[in-house]
C-alpha cells in the first residue's frame, strides 16, 4: 500500500432503497432491520470491483474499499486531500494519523446508485491513554 492508497467505507442501500442513514438512532433491537440482503450486497461488491476498487471487508451495512487516490477522484468526481489529526490530545499530541477528506461533494455514479447510499472516508478515532 502506498501513501496514495485510499480506503473508504461504502454505505449500502437495500433493494428497497433504504439505508441506515435515514434512521435517527440505531440500537441492537433495530439494527437487523437495516441489513442488506446477501445478493444485493454481492451486486454492490461486483460493481465496485468493476470500477477497479479492491473490496477489503464486507458487512451487512457497508463495504470497505481500497484504491488509488486518482481512482476515487475520477469515479466519485471529487478531490481528495490528506489531513493529519492527533490520535490523542494528551499525552501523544505529536502522534498524528492521516486520513483523506473529500473537498467536493461526492457524486455516486448512476450505475452504483441502486446499491450505494454514500461513500465516506474513515476519520481515525482518538485514543484515551
Amino acid at each position: 500500500m502506498t501513501n496514495q492508497t485510499v480506503i473508504a467505507e461504502v454505505v449500502l442501500r437495500g433493494s428497497d432503497g433504504s439505508s441506515i442513514l435515514e434512521e435517527e438512532s440505531i440500537s441492537s433491537k433495530t439494527a437487523e432491520r437495516y441489513k442488506i440482503d446477501e445478493n444485493h450486497m454481492q451486486l454492490a461488491r461486483e460493481n465496485l470491483l468493476d470500477y477497479g476498487f479492491d473490496v477489503i471487508t464486507t458487512s451487512p451495512y457497508s463495504l470497505s474499499i481500497q484504491g488509488d487516490k486518482r481512482l476515487f477522484e475520477r469515479v466519485f468526481k471529487t478531490r481528495l486531500r490528506k489531513r493529519q489529526v492527533p490520535i490523542s490530545e494528551s499525552p501523544l499530541r505529536e502522534e498524528e494519523q492521516g486520513f483523506f477528506e473529500a473537498q467536493d461533494p461526492i457524486e455516486i455514479p448512476e450505475k452504483l446508485l441502486p446499491y450505494v447510499a454514500a461513500v465516506t472516508f474513515p476519520q481515525p478515532p482518538e485514543l484515551f491513554p
Binding site: E9, V11, I20, Y34, T120, F121, E126
Partner: protein
Amino acid sequence: MTESILAVVSPRSVGGLSIFDAEDSITPETAQEFNSEESVIRSARNELQRLGFKIENEGPITISISGSPKLFQNVFGVKPHKEKVEMVEGLPQVDYFAATPEETEKLLEPPQTLRPSIEGIVMAHPAELFESPLPPLAPVHQNAYRYFTVPDDIAVMLRASRVHRLNGTGRDVVVAMIDSGQYAHPFFNWHGYRVLPTLLGPGQSNPGEDLVGHGTGESANIFAAAPDISLRPIKGLSDAVGSFNVAIGSTPKPHIITNSWGYNVDNQSWQQLKQTNLSLYNYLKLLEATVSSAIANGIVVCFSCGNGTKRGFPSSHPDVISVGGVHVNYPDLSLEASSYASSFASTLYPGRRCPDVCGLTGKAVKIGNSNRAPSILLPVQPGASLDAITPSTGASDDGWGLFSGTSAACPQVAGVAALLLQKKPGLSPKDVKKKLVDTARDVTTGTSGTGESAGPGKDDATGAGLVDAKWSYITTFGDVAAEFISGSSDKQREMLETGQMPHAVDKFFADAMDTLRSR
C-alpha cells in the same frame, strides 16, 4: 517442519536510487523516495511467488519473503549458513540464516526475471530485544502517586484474585481488542497468556508492530482481570468500522470486543452532526449500526468513555458498556472518581448517561504542562511513543510505560465480563452489563474530568462505581445464590437452615462466607 529463510526484498524505488545505495540517513522526510509504485510491487510479488517464495508481508518500501534454503540457492546462487544470536539476554540463542559477504553481493544482483522490479534482497537479521517481562522500578514523580503493576495489583484492586482461585479465569472466552497493534512483548509470553495472531483492519500493515504502544499496553489490563482469555488483537485505527467488521467476522468468534478509543462528538444531536459534518455523520452512523449488530448477535461491547472533557461515541451508545475511571488512593485504598476520566450526559442519545461502570484510572496530575495519569505500568513495544511518555520509567526504550486513562479501565471491565461469560456462557450482552452494574463498588467521593461529582449510589461521575469481579462472579451462581448474597444475615441464616441454598460441600460454603465477610 521444513526450515525456512526469511529475507527482505526492496522493489525498485520511485526516487530511482536503490535503498542499498543510499549514503545519507533515511529519514521520515526522505523515506518516500524509497517507496515503490504499486505496479512494481505487484510485478515483484508475482514473480517472487512464481519462483516459489512465500510472501510474508508487503509494504510500500519492502516485501518480506520466505523460502527453503534450496530455493534461495536455485534462484540466487547462494547457500546461507546457520548462525546463532542471543535475542534476549539470558535466554537460549536462536538460529537464523546468514549470508557471507560474497553471497550478500550476489543477493544485491537479482536474477534476470527479477531485475526489472527489484533492487536487491537481504537476509533478515533478528533484532536484539531489550525489554524484560518484569517492569522496572520506575521512580514516582513528585506530583504523582504509587503506581500499579500488571497483573497482580490490578487483579487485587478489581477483586479478581479470589475469583481466579475459584477457577474463574476467563478460560474459553475470546476477547477482541481493536487498537494500535499488539507487540510480542515478553510479558505476555512469560505469563503464558494466549494471544491469537493479530488481524489487520483496512489500511493497516505490519501486524507484529505497535509503534504507539497503546494496544499492547492496554491489553495487559484484560489479562490482569482474566488471565486465561484468548486475546484477538485487531490492528485497525485507520478504519474503525472496517476493523469492527474484521473483529465480528474473525474465527473464533469473539465473545467480547473492547475498544479504548472513541470520537469526541457527543456534545450535539445526530441532526446537528449531520449538518456540520455530513461525512463524519455518515461514517459514525455506520459505526453505530455495526456496533448495534455485534451486540444483537450476542457480542458484549465495551468502550472507553473518554479522558478529561471528552464525550466519547460509541461509548454513549445505549447498548454498549460505557467505562469510566476510578482512582485508588494509597495507602488507605479509598476510592474516588478519577479527575482524569470523563463522564457526561449524552446528547446523541437523550437520557443516556456515561459511564455505566468504571475501571481503574489514575487521577489527573500536572507533569510539565500536561495532565497525566501515571497509575499503571504497562508493557509496550520498546521505543513506542508510550515508552517515552512522561513521567518516565527511566528509559524510553525499556518496553514499559506509565499510563492509565479510561483506555486502561475499559479492558479491565472487559476482563471481568470474561469471567462472567466463562461461568455462564449463555449470558446476553444486556445480562452482562446488568450484572456488572448491579454489583459494582459504590464510589462516593471525587469529581470526574468534566466536573461531575460522585456520591452515594449511582452518580454522574462513576455510574454504578468500580467494577467488582468477585461480586459480579458470585451472582452467576444462580438466582438462589443471588438472593442469599443480597439477603440480610437473618435471611441468609434461614436459607441455610431450611436448605434453600443448593446442597454443596462444606468448602463451597466456607468460601462463600469468607467472600461475604470480606465484602
